[in-house]
């Protein structure tokens, strides 16, 4: 019998190390940082969707009390190099990103003039006095119209609003469709969302004139990318440029681009020799933080008489907003839609084509799920539509087409490879957990009573923890596939583990401490995790794309193992024992079966201070610090099935979620509480995307959802209790056996809810092909359906 002397730290429901400070008001977010002499920045932003700038008059603003400077594009040309998101992707046209608009504005909220003053109130007062003379140009709002020849063009140098085109093909999809007994087609529209992290973006730049060194405190998810980008744009070497992301109040992708405001605070701090701070207000967040999920998918699915999928064809238009976002490019989301459209199914023939179209709206970028909430919505609707044509149950339709265990590794039609993961296990698990047959019986009773009661399934698979072989964005010249961990035991015996990732709510201080503690043999609370600091390691990017557990966890594993080996070597010498007999656990070093032991502080003293205790040759090998970089090379597959049960109120058209079940395979779990939280939070955002949230622009390019009164983030009254089934199916795709789970909740929920609402309204023959399915949309759909009937 094996006795576990110590419960495994990986897999333990450890309370988060972050919590004590965050529960007592002692977190430190960027706006909490105070530097003496700080100047505060406010912007005068475009109030036009598309206009030429004729003249800017800053005289009155500059004379206002407390104003230190009023800055236009012309004033910063000397210190800020123009930048744009480049890509190796063919048929892509980059757009130069102005920090301040020079000749033209292309969306409402675009920064035009910056005002620096002694406090934010005074800076805003002065910004109001700036006079900008515009010559309005025709706005470009509808992405399909914008893609047509003859449409007004936002970027004249490109000559078209279509700034990227891409397609993937496998097999002869035309032949497959032509001969198929069953064909279903739809036009699926997801309306634009915004990440709406509770902390608005905030930046504070501090320039040390003596060292000519710049420190930027930024609410960013990617301090490494920001550091590397600013080094080029501002021409400062990395050893005099440091980007620190302190406590960050959520990101969800909205804090992954480099923003012009970040560039500007740095430039102005350097130019004026004073700290410069800018914190977005919610209006600025809702008008200028990157938005997402804005695609139209026209797709057709062909099946055999038994439901076997024969082919899939799709044309996608992505509304990318006014510019191609830096550094990911506007291809990030639209291309992901056609990459993941075939879903977790065997699709023998496929053609997917996408166009990314510039419009007079805020830029789009990463938002939790990136593209896959849209692709899953379209594909899962098609699968249900095909099942209906065939009179097959949606669950059975999925069973017949899902990639089976013996088919892994499975190459998808776009060349991605699904490694062994619990596709079918998630489908069956969700059905069993929900008592699917029982639910159908309940539905039959509800329908007999005339109630609108629906059950919706959605299955998907994603690739998480991408290694260097696959870029997080197509053709982007940034390495997103490696992570470095630098772990050391210092002269006091304390353990510090430094990472390039940047936790902004995910609890990575805790989960990475669990990994280091387990591998090194110390207690979780003894590990100080450093993250969110570009100085922590030589290269990093940050936290996004469900990568940090896999990549930073992998780097932590490699470094901690090597460090443990050093501890064992030194301790074997000091305790006069064989290395094989040295045990390291809970921060104590012991010789197995004896009472000979030493602590980490004693070991550290022997290595660093008490010269002579270790032979010189051994000291050269044992310096108690290890830095290792991990590259998973490919990615790790993470599948799930979501099941939603809804009932629609016939009076208010409110969609009430009666049950919500998630079965997901996230590989080895480090901390079940944190894993649950990632799923819960992701699903909540997916529910928002499906039922409530929509960024609305009018025909003039004015944003109508510019406050949280108008942009509806769901509350505790809308989000139901969820049943989450974690399937921990082993994977060898990465060193820790982890699968990413940060985004999945948001990927599955819109599709599951669209299918559930469609199922609820099946007696009326209504198909949900547009999200969010708000009470207003439902009212109109139901009125149309009743009209048709009469």
């Amino acid at each position: 019998m094996e006795i576990e002397v110590r419960p495994g730290l990986i897999g333990a429901r450890v309370q988060r190390l972050e919590d004590p400070r965050l529960l007592t008001g002692h977190g430190t977010y960027v706006d909490d940082l105070q530097l003496p002499g700080t100047l505060h920045l406010a912007f005068r932003r475009s109030d036009h969707g598309h206009a030429r700038i004729i003249a800017i008059d800053t005289e009155e603003a500059a004379a206002m009390p407390g104003v230190a400077a009023v800055v236009t594009a012309a004033d910063i040309a000397d210190g800020v190099k123009p930048y744009r998101a480049t890509s190796r992707m063919p048929d892509y046209h980059p757009t130069t990103l102005p920090v301040l608009a020079a000749d033209k504005v292309r969306y409402v909220g675009e920064p035009v003039v910056a005002v620096l003053a002694e406090n934010r109130y005074l800076a805003e007062d002065a910004a109001e006095q700036v006079a900008i003379d515009y010559d309005p140009l025709p706005t470009v709002i509808d992405p399909e119209a914008a893609a047509q020849p003859g449409a007004p063009v936002l970027h004249e140098e490109i000559g078209s609003n279509v700034i990227l085109s891409r397609s993937f093909s496998r097999g002869d999809v035309e032949a497959a469709l032509a001969g198929a007994p069953v064909r279903v087609a739809g036009r699926f529209r997801m309306h634009r969302k915004t990440p709406a992290a509770m902390e608005n973006r905030a930046y504070l730049a501090d320039y040390d004139q003596g060292r000519r060194a710049l420190t930027l405190y930024s609410s960013t998810q990617v301090p490494g990318i920001v550091r590397d980008s600013l080094a080029e744009i501002l021409d400062i070497p990395g050893n005099r440029l440091r980007v620190i992301a302190p406590d960050v109040g959520g990101g969800f992708g909205g804090k992954t681009p480099l923003y012009g405001e970040e560039v500007l605070v740095c430039h102005l701090a350097r130019k004026l020799g004073r700290p410069v701070k800018w914190c977005a207000d919610r209006l600025e967040d809702l008008t200028t933080t990157s938005q997402a999920f804005d695609e139209i998918v026209e797709a057709e699915l062909a099946c055999d008489g038994d439901g076997t999928i024969l082919g899939l064809r799709a044309e996608v238009i992505g509304d990318i907003g006014a510019y191609s976002i830096y550094p990911y490019t506007a291809a990030l989301e639209p291309v992901q839609v056609i990459s993941f459209l075939p879903g977790p199914y065997r699709v023998p023939s496929y053609h997917g084509a996408v166009k990314g179209v510039a419009t007079s709206k805020a830029l789009t970028g990463a938002y939790r799920g990136v593209g896959r909430p849209i692709s899953t919505f379209a594909m899962e609707r098609l699968v249900d539509m095909a099942a209906r044509e065939l009179s097959l149950d949606p669950l059975e339709m999925r069973r017949r087409n899902m990639v089976r265990a013996e088919e892994f590794p499975y190459k998808t039609p776009v060349g991605l490879v699904w490694d062994r993961a619990g596709f079918m296990e998630c489908l069956d698990g969700a059905a069993a957990a929900a008592d699917y047959d029982g639910l159908r019986a309940e539905q039959a009773r509800a329908r007999a009573d005339g109630r609108w009661f629906g059950i919706g399934l959605a299955s998907y698979a994603e690739l998480t923890g991408l290694g260097s072989r696959i870029s997080a964005a197509p053709g982007m010249p940034v390495n997103t596939g490696t992570e470095t961990a630098s772990i050391r035991i210092d002269a006091t015996g304390a353990v510090t583990a430094a990472f390039g990732i940047a936790s902004h709510g995910q609890g990575l201080e805790t989960t990475l401490a669990q990994v280091v503690a387990e591998e090194l043999g110390v207690r979780v609370e003894d590990v100080e995790v450093v993250h969110g600091d570009s100085d922590a390691v030589a290269h990093s990017t940050g936290t996004y794309a469900s990568r940090s557990t896999i990549l930073a966890g992998g780097a932590a594993t490699l470094s901690a193992r090597a460090l443990r080996q050093q501890v064992v070597e030194a301790a074997a010498h000091l305790l006069e024992a064989a290395q094989a007999d040295i045990e390291v656990a809970d921060g104590a070093i012991r010789v197995a079966g004896t009472d000979r032991a030493m602590s980490f502080p004693e070991l550290a003293k022997a290595v660093f201070v008490e010269m002579g205790r270790l032979p010189r040759e051994l000291r050269e090998q044992v310096d108690l610090q290890v830095t290792k970089t991990y590259d998973p090379y490919f990615g790790t597959t993470a599948p799930a099935t979501h099941l939603a049960v809804v009932e629609i109120d016939p009076e208010t058209y409110r969609v009430a979620i009666r049950r919500y079940v998630v079965a997901e395979d996230c590989g080895r779990i480090i901390n079940p509480m944190i894993a649950d939280g990632q799923v819960h939070g992701g699903v909540a955002q997916g529910i928002g995307a499906a039922l409530y949230e929509e960024v609305v622009y009018d025909d003039e390019g004015q944003i109508l959802t510019a406050s949280l009164v108008d942009y509806l983030v769901p509350t505790a009254a809308e989000i139901p209790e969820m049943e989450v089934l974690h399937l921990e199916i082993e994977t060898e795709a990465n060193i820790g056996g982890f699968r990413g789970l940060g985004e999945g909740g948001t990927i599955g929920a819109p599709a599951a809810l669209a299918n559930a609402v469609t199922d609820a309204l099946a007696p009326l023959g209504i198909d949900i092909d547009e999200l969010p399915v708000t009470p207003d949309r439902l009212f109109r759909l139901i009125r149309e359906a009743n009209k048709d009937e009469n």
Binding site: G25, Y121, G250, I674, G677, G681
Partner: protein, 167 residues
């Protein structure tokens, strides 16, 4: 009533977390900005400046208030409790522990306001239903957690407190 011309600052004196504090405010200065920038109590967070998200919620003279939708001058002579004051209240340790055990917070930005509302709510409703807890929480936006951990944590604290009182 005192009239302040635009731009002129006046002294505002109030009791915050049991201690007398004083600082300067213009007539337009928000209480949230006054707490943060005059009194250096950065635990109160500002998420929307419209009174929607609830992150800035404090206890003002025994009632909950959105400090972003309250003027600093309105707090003259008032008693205010912010998250820093709640942190010093050992009676709230079970609530904090329950939040931590149930994953009721992730990024922590909305947490100070939610702790203010939850502790105030539990004092008035020691044995609430889940629907009542959700109704109370619907005055706050959290983008990270999906609220489930908060609901569980608050119900657990209520149950333990009620059971303790009955014993």
């Amino acid at each position: 009533m005192m009239r302040l011309p635009p731009g002129q600052r006046t002294r505002v004196t109030c009791t915050v977390n049991g201690q007398a504090h004083s600082g300067f405010a213009e007539s337009r200065t928000l209480l949230s900005d006054f707490l943060r920038h005059e009194l250096h109590l950065y635990g109160t967070h500002v998420g929307c400046e419209h009174g929607v998200c609830g992150a800035c919620t404090v206890v003002l003279d025994g009632r909950l208030a959105r400090s972003c939708a309250t003027l600093a001058v309105q707090a003259e002579g008032a008693e205010i409790t912010t998250v820093e004051g709640l942190a010093a209240d050992e009676g709230l340790e079970p609530l904090r522990q329950a939040f931590s055990r149930h994953g009721a917070l992730q990024c922590g930005f909305c947490t100070p306001g939610i702790l203010a509302s939850a502790s105030h709510f539990l004092a008035a409703r020691p044995d609430p239903t889940e629907a009542e807890v959700r109704d109370m929480l619907s005055g706050h936006l959290c983008r990270c957690t999906g609220y489930e951990g908060m609901v569980r944590a608050i119900l657990e604290v209520a149950r333990e407190t009620t059971e303790g009182a009955n014993q």
